[in-house]
Symmetry: C3
Amino acid sequence: MNRTLGVCYYPEHWPEAQWVEDAARMASLGIVHVRIGEFAWSRLEPRRGVYEFDWLGRAIDVLHQAGLKVVLGTPTATPPKWLVDEMPDMLPVGADGLTRKFGSRRHYDFAHDGYLEECKRITLALAKAFGAHPGIAAWQTDNEYDCHNTTLSYSPAAKAGFQAWLQRKYQSPEALNRAWGNVFWSMEISEFSEVELPNLTVTEPNPTHVMDFRRFASDMVVRFNKAQADIIRAHSPGRDVIHNFMGRTLVFDHFDVGADLDISSWDSYPLGFLEDRSDQNDDWKRQFAHAGDPDFQAFHHDLYRATSKGRWWVMEQQPGPVNWAPHNPAPRNGMVRLWSWEAFAHGAETVSYFRWRQAPFAQEQMHAGLLRSDSVEAQGFHEAAQVSSELGALDRELSDSAGKADVAIVFDYPSAWAWEIQPQGREFDYFRLVFDFYRTMRRLGLSIDIVPASAPDLEGYGLVTIPGLFTWTPALIEAVRAYQGHVLIGPRSGSKTADFAIPDSLPPALPKDILDVRVTHVESLREDTPVYLAEGGSFQYWREFLEAGPETENILTTGDGVPGLVAQGNRRYLGGWPDQGLLYDIIMRLASRGGLVTKELRDGLRLRRHGNHVFAFNYGATAFDLSALGWTGKPLLGDLMIEPSGVAITPLSRAGS
Amino acid sequence: MNRTLGVCYYPEHWPEAQWVEDAARMASLGIVHVRIGEFAWSRLEPRRGVYEFDWLGRAIDVLHQAGLKVVLGTPTATPPKWLVDEMPDMLPVGADGLTRKFGSRRHYDFAHDGYLEECKRITLALAKAFGAHPGIAAWQTDNEYDCHNTTLSYSPAAKAGFQAWLQRKYQSPEALNRAWGNVFWSMEISEFSEVELPNLTVTEPNPTHVMDFRRFASDMVVRFNKAQADIIRAHSPGRDVIHNFMGRTLVFDHFDVGADLDISSWDSYPLGFLEDRSDQNDDWKRQFAHAGDPDFQAFHHDLYRATSKGRWWVMEQQPGPVNWAPHNPAPRNGMVRLWSWEAFAHGAETVSYFRWRQAPFAQEQMHAGLLRSDSVEAQGFHEAAQVSSELGALDRELSDSAGKADVAIVFDYPSAWAWEIQPQGREFDYFRLVFDFYRTMRRLGLSIDIVPASAPDLEGYGLVTIPGLFTWTPALIEAVRAYQGHVLIGPRSGSKTADFAIPDSLPPALPKDILDVRVTHVESLREDTPVYLAEGGSFQYWREFLEAGPETENILTTGDGVPGLVAQGNRRYLGGWPDQGLLYDIIMRLASRGGLVTKELRDGLRLRRHGNHVFAFNYGATAFDLSALGWTGKPLLGDLMIEPSGVAITPLSRAGS
Amino acid sequence: MNRTLGVCYYPEHWPEAQWVEDAARMASLGIVHVRIGEFAWSRLEPRRGVYEFDWLGRAIDVLHQAGLKVVLGTPTATPPKWLVDEMPDMLPVGADGLTRKFGSRRHYDFAHDGYLEECKRITLALAKAFGAHPGIAAWQTDNEYDCHNTTLSYSPAAKAGFQAWLQRKYQSPEALNRAWGNVFWSMEISEFSEVELPNLTVTEPNPTHVMDFRRFASDMVVRFNKAQADIIRAHSPGRDVIHNFMGRTLVFDHFDVGADLDISSWDSYPLGFLEDRSDQNDDWKRQFAHAGDPDFQAFHHDLYRATSKGRWWVMEQQPGPVNWAPHNPAPRNGMVRLWSWEAFAHGAETVSYFRWRQAPFAQEQMHAGLLRSDSVEAQGFHEAAQVSSELGALDRELSDSAGKADVAIVFDYPSAWAWEIQPQGREFDYFRLVFDFYRTMRRLGLSIDIVPASAPDLEGYGLVTIPGLFTWTPALIEAVRAYQGHVLIGPRSGSKTADFAIPDSLPPALPKDILDVRVTHVESLREDTPVYLAEGGSFQYWREFLEAGPETENILTTGDGVPGLVAQGNRRYLGGWPDQGLLYDIIMRLASRGGLVTKELRDGLRLRRHGNHVFAFNYGATAFDLSALGWTGKPLLGDLMIEPSGVAITPLSRAGS
Ligand SMILES: [Zn+2]
Ligand SMILES: [Zn+2]
Ligand SMILES: [Zn+2]
């Protein structure tokens, strides 16, 4: 393998005279990939049909001549003003019914056919112009789908698109009425054109109605992305098609979009994400304010490794303080290096920093770059340089791929939509539940693969967990049946049919030979009223009342006498949302029964196995002696005494496993 | 009397083949009343003028043949899509100016004349079709007026209706200008058509303007309900007309609507209401998370006993976990039975459970029924069966009616509107104030009647309290003058004229022979700055500066020397919002002076006198020995040692009174 | 000088028969100035062109005959209904895109040309009618600009006005694109008509775009005010033109508006403002709930003394409880007097109470007056009477003006806009930062002048502070260069160019001979992650990474080794937001190096030097012995032992300075 570093660059922001020097500095830093162009539509086509591609060609030439490989972005995240003025109904509409305006970015509705055509037109023009350029190594479609929440748009275009989508799905209004249960509250329709978008209703709309709208909205993103990918593939053969996903963005199915990409990438902002999208409490946020959550990036690395079947990048790596979170602290020295290595430990091909030079103007002027706005090298530059030098020494020693992980979590975007539509208890959030499982496994030193519910391959894992799954696919049922290792299912898994109804046989709706358990009813709980288990620990937020068949065994029971964890062969069903300690115990025992070696890691320390090596990362503020985990000998990188922000790599054989 | 149980049933949700078995199971459970039909418009009239009543007739027949009595609901809470598409301006408009859409329920504006005509049309058709059916025992108009807050709608229809209402009330713009004080801020109008609805103003609108709008909105609900009641009475003689009110819903005057009903009923969801509409703190909510607030249901039982002059039902009784509150815990075992008996203790004729079978689809799929969605009996079923069996044993022994209570609270919907319009301090809420008085009396073991300010009968009570009354009616002044018992008035009572102005003689605006006290000014207080009384205790949130005449006596005085509680004969004026302990002391002393026996009940225990019996209820989590309250001998129902969720009934003579 | 008391009076609210008695009571109380007329448009012109000025003339006559001086308000804050109906597009539009409606006040858009013409018409009519009346002493333009937040309006009128404003400023779209950095995110425009208002964007709009919109919006207020001032000056020569500003209202540049006034005035509501616009914590709010923040009024007194070059009034002084804050407590006895004297201590010419008599009707019926609504004297009346009597005794002894203060703070409205647009950290608020500096100086017993960044005169101060300045003016750079005393600059000062970009030389962008320091980057901090300084104390919310040149000296250094306070000659740069204790130490040391005498005042006690006297005020709840501060001898007013709500005045020579 040839792991590379990259950087995001905006030649249109700087005098052309500066490009050559910039390219030379990039190359000498050890940068290989340079992403450009993704916001430049107004410069590429200042008026309809007037293409000004020359400057972009010259920029590509300059980079290419410096030995750099260009990732060219399609500029469709920032349609120019003249285009919006031509088709103002392309603008997205909020759930409040108010149209969003031109003036920032992502001001379009994914369901707008006219805008889709415009995107195909500009993509085609760019692909024809630069598709065969030897400097072009890859393409990025658009930028950060759903950043700023435009996937769910309530525009006339979305309404028409949704009605057509429903007609294709259901064929007849009667079928739709039946599937949605529209007899309830007289919601029946007699033509598809009667279907409204599910916003601004007097009280909650029908969950099946919303679920179909969510599926439709996700499909519109898939359609949008595929339209560009197809054009690029036709006109720029041999180049990878990439999109840069975001963190904790669940509104569209990244497996579906990822299927049309060669490489999934994501934009990793550890400090910003800890501030603006973490469920952790204030104490945790304080503790990791300058380091980022020790598991959040890892989760997304593992997720996006899955969405395009293994190939993945970090397209934007936070290089210093950013501008968009409620607070924007500076990374502790060493963290930019650590984050880069954490990505490589999870199998990244490329880690690309955002951005080359801080722009002194416009919205992101307070967002650090590798260079300061006065072109002096910033802290991120020095850390990238260190990574580059370390990569030079180690890249060949490391395996080509991360390899199969110890354990797997089944992850499923529709489940996120389902529980957002019907949380039933205020705290019930699919990501939060799955992430609790993920973090627990990581605290145990396990390496994790994320597996889609739609196409699950469970072979070879020591343990598979399936928390909060909306509905079973036949494939997943068969995979569970075939799988010989331990499976931990629930809470709330299989609790709905695909039509968002309670299954006839009640949840979890598995054949009795797999799991003879029924959830007769559930309760959602205030944070201060957990349900305690007889064996210790508690269920928080959510607990289920289980009836279990004769082939099952009670492993845990609640204080009020309800089965809490039930086993049937190698399969277990968990009837509640366990507190952190309880989940730790459950998973530790199952992992150990599955023959896995676990370690008890303190909060700041994390491990990741990559091929024949183990990586250690210290997100904490104090040093730690890795010998306590059984590490022996001098690591390939770093020391046994791992300092704050430190990284260590050692062969599997010396990692105490 | 013949107390009955009932249930809510949706034949249109289930295969017709199942109806007979369902009816038989209901009958064998001891159900007498079955409410049906209230959301079925799209099945009764799938297209304009195409009435499909046959299925409903067959359903009524099936129930009737099983010996059940049908309560038939008019389906007007869920106008079908075709009707909304015909007259889209029937949709309600929020204070934000945004129109609410079809897609759930209650999507209509009470002030829309066209929709009113449609409701009369479908009601007439149903009344003609089924009014004389021997299985029809009663009718329910619409469903849960103002559930989901549509009474206050800011639509063009509401604007036109309001202008016409004002014209009838004031006759001339000059009279309106005078009444509202429109000289202030140049708000004067010269034609009624100039009056706007009081939303989206730059800063607060004129309180008299808003008050009239609130009166108008309430009147529209009255008009809407009366239109249906009149038709039903004309075509279904001898059947009771009922509406099912909600908890803590104050936006329309339930006394006014109740005057057009034979029976007031309400939908009692103790756990949901504790979660989503209680002022109590987290500790209280935690303590009663699985039992419900010990006083909230009682208050509404007493309230709705008053709104239709004595006859009242629980139309929907929570049978298990629901789906709509922030958290939806399961009732503790026994609570469904306890809630049922609490209703009977307050004089209910019928307690009807919502719903027969949990529907596995649509919005309420997580709402428990007496049966699970797979038709197995749920916990609520077993508890209803127990109540049915106990009723069989006891119904004849119990008095026909609850009889006159010990004490009375004057309750007044316009006062709730007034203080919502002009709280003056953030915490000032009429319901909260009244409920503080109610709970205090109940903690003292007293039984309470609620008396409307509009038609007060104060005779025979040991104590009458009048907190927070917006404005006096002449009838109430005369009733207070005539009443010989103790009256506790205030805080804030009589502080406005009917035109929402400060009375010329200053509050409380009573003749000097009744109470020679003036509130010269008031202050609203942060929670952390109470005003302490010299005698102990404090005023929280609100205190008044009183000037009292020579015939008065100071009972309590604030630490800064202002009269806090003033007496004049049997009448007392209270110049602040007392803390819980202070209010307890004040009421205990007054009750005892009024010859009432009080008991000091701990939080979970409650008593209710019904005719010649006393009921005890244990909402708490530990058992209690009722002998400590002076109970002797074996109770008719239950034991002296009352368990959690327990109910006990004993003759008055053995209850230590 | 002749310090006066005033009162706000609404003859149109009362029977004409009462006017004579009211005027007589005012005069006997010692009132001199009476403001009238500012909300009376519907009475002055009930229909277009029908002027009814007679009643106003009679009211002026009555007041004049009682020896009172009238301040006549233009009624433009309350356009009547008929006018709004004629031009409904004059209404302001919120950032939510929703039009605000008639029904309260301030329902107009400053940018609406048609409404501006109407205001000029009514102002001209009034100025012609009463401009020469001997009873007219002054005029008030409109009332409380931006009370209720209408300066930022997103109406079509504002959009057209903004485009025209931009065209005047930039001349060409290219210049605008360059200045705004519109190449970023393809935001480029090709005609000024393409510029949108910066609301309802998908994510944040360009900060330069917003900054220009904020400048435009401020200019519209200036234009609006100047149009009236010009007419009044032309037709009412010799009379002062006044506007009444509000507290913590930063949305328009009060220096710009003030330049067109003879006298700045403001409406001082100490209790209301503590409740609804203070950053202080709950404990502080509790402590001063009945006294008001000890520094908030002082700050605005000093600010509005600056906005019209020295002449200033309190136009509305809170006289008792008000109606509009979340809680509305009563002032502690004596506070109305204290507030009045605090204003005079800061150089006020007039303190005018709002209002004469409490109106029993409409929005402000719960707002106290000097008289109760039943015309009995309220507490405020008695305290005003005391001030009047004390003024009679002392006015001649006191200096004509407050004189130059000890220290200065540079204050700048655009800086407030800038950091609201780009806080970078949630807590960064310009007013809060400046007020921290102000309060610290006041805790040190220093008297403070506020100096505009646009026209700074720094001569003669012992210390000048410049926190949080958006951008330097050449005048201010020269003033700093010339100034010999100590200057404390930062944090965040000079961090942007006028085009809202990071300066080429990085912040603070001062010539090296003034301050050779560069802020390479910054971080915003969670409240629980301060940066500690090696010398003690901490930076909260905000800290900068400084690089300092060879001519500088490190005064303070952070625990992680970054310069925290850097000195170069008499100039210091502060690289963070200091906690209260640290700021106290820094300023105390600088003040003492600047030869100023400081005192350590506890929270409730405050001093203000006025000419040759020092005033002491006790906002606290316990008495204090002023001898502890070095006061000697019997004060002119009050005693050395200053009681709660007490005021003392002593000659400078006896104040221990
Ligand atoms: Zn990004
Ligand atoms: Zn209901
Ligand atoms: Zn005011």
